[in-house]
Symmetry: C2
Subunit: 117 residues, 2 copies
C-alpha cells in the first residue's frame, strides 16, 4: 500500500486535466499503439508526448508492453473504472439531494412547474 486512495485519485484527475493526455487516452483506448505513432498524431515534439505518456503511466492509466525497441501503450480499463467509482461518490450525493428536493416539493403541495429550477 504505497499510496493512499486519495493520492491515486489525485494523480488520475491531474493526469486527465490536460486535453492532450485525454486525447492520447482516447487514441490508445481502441487499439494498442507505439510511442512514435502516438507522437505522430500531434503537433508537439516527441519529447512532450513522451512526458505525457510518463504522466499517464504514473497514474496507472496506461499499460506498457515492449516489442523490440518499440513500446506499445494501451489504456487501463481498471483505472477508468476506479475513476468512475470516485465520480459516483459525488453523483450519488447530488442525486440524493435532487430526490429530497422533489419529495419536499410534493409534500408541500408544490405546483407542477418543477419547483427545483
Amino acid at each position: 500500500m504505497g499510496v493512499t486512495a486519495e493520492e491515486a485519485t489525485d494523480d488520475v484527475f491531474r493526469a486527465l486535466a490536460d486535453p492532450r493526455r485525454r486525447q492520447i487516452l482516447r487514441l490508445v483506448a481502441q487499439e494498442e499503439l507505439a510511442a512514435g505513432e502516438i507522437a505522430g498524431a500531434f503537433d508537439v515534439t516527441r519529447t512532450a508526448v513522451s512526458q505525457h505518456l510518463s504522466v499517464l503511466r504514473s497514474a496507472d492509466l496506461l499499460t506498457e508492453r515492449r516489442d523490440g525497441t518499440r513500446r506499445l501503450y494501451r489504456a487501463n480499463p481498471d483505472r477508468i473504472a476506479d475513476l468512475r467509482a470516485a465520480l459516483d461518490e459525488l453523483w450519488a450525493s447530488s442525486l440524493d439531494l435532487g430526490r429530497r428536493l422533489v419529495e419536499a416539493d410534493r409534500a408541500a403541495g408544490g405546483d407542477a412547474q418543477g419547483g427545483v429550477r
Copy 2:
C-alpha cells in the same frame, strides 16, 4: 451554443483537477451551503475559496442562489452526469478491448490465471 462540447468538457476536467475543488464539490453535494460556510471548512483565505467557487461556477458545476448578501451554492447534478457520459466514451472503448483480449485468451487456450492482468 457559445461553447463547444470539447471546451465544456475541458473546463470540467480542469476544475476537477484541484483536490480542494473536489472537496468543495463533495461539500455542497449533500447540502446547500453559503460561501462563508464553505470557506470556513478550509485553512485557506476566503479569497482563495471564492476563486475556487468561481472556477467551479464557470464550469457550470455549481448553481448559485442569492439570499440577501449571502450566496448559496449547490452541486449541479447535470454536469456530473455529463462528465460521466464523457468518461463512458473512454470506458466503452477500453471495455471492448478488454473483452477482445479475454476472448483471444480463451480461443488460444489461455490458462485460468486471468491473463488480462
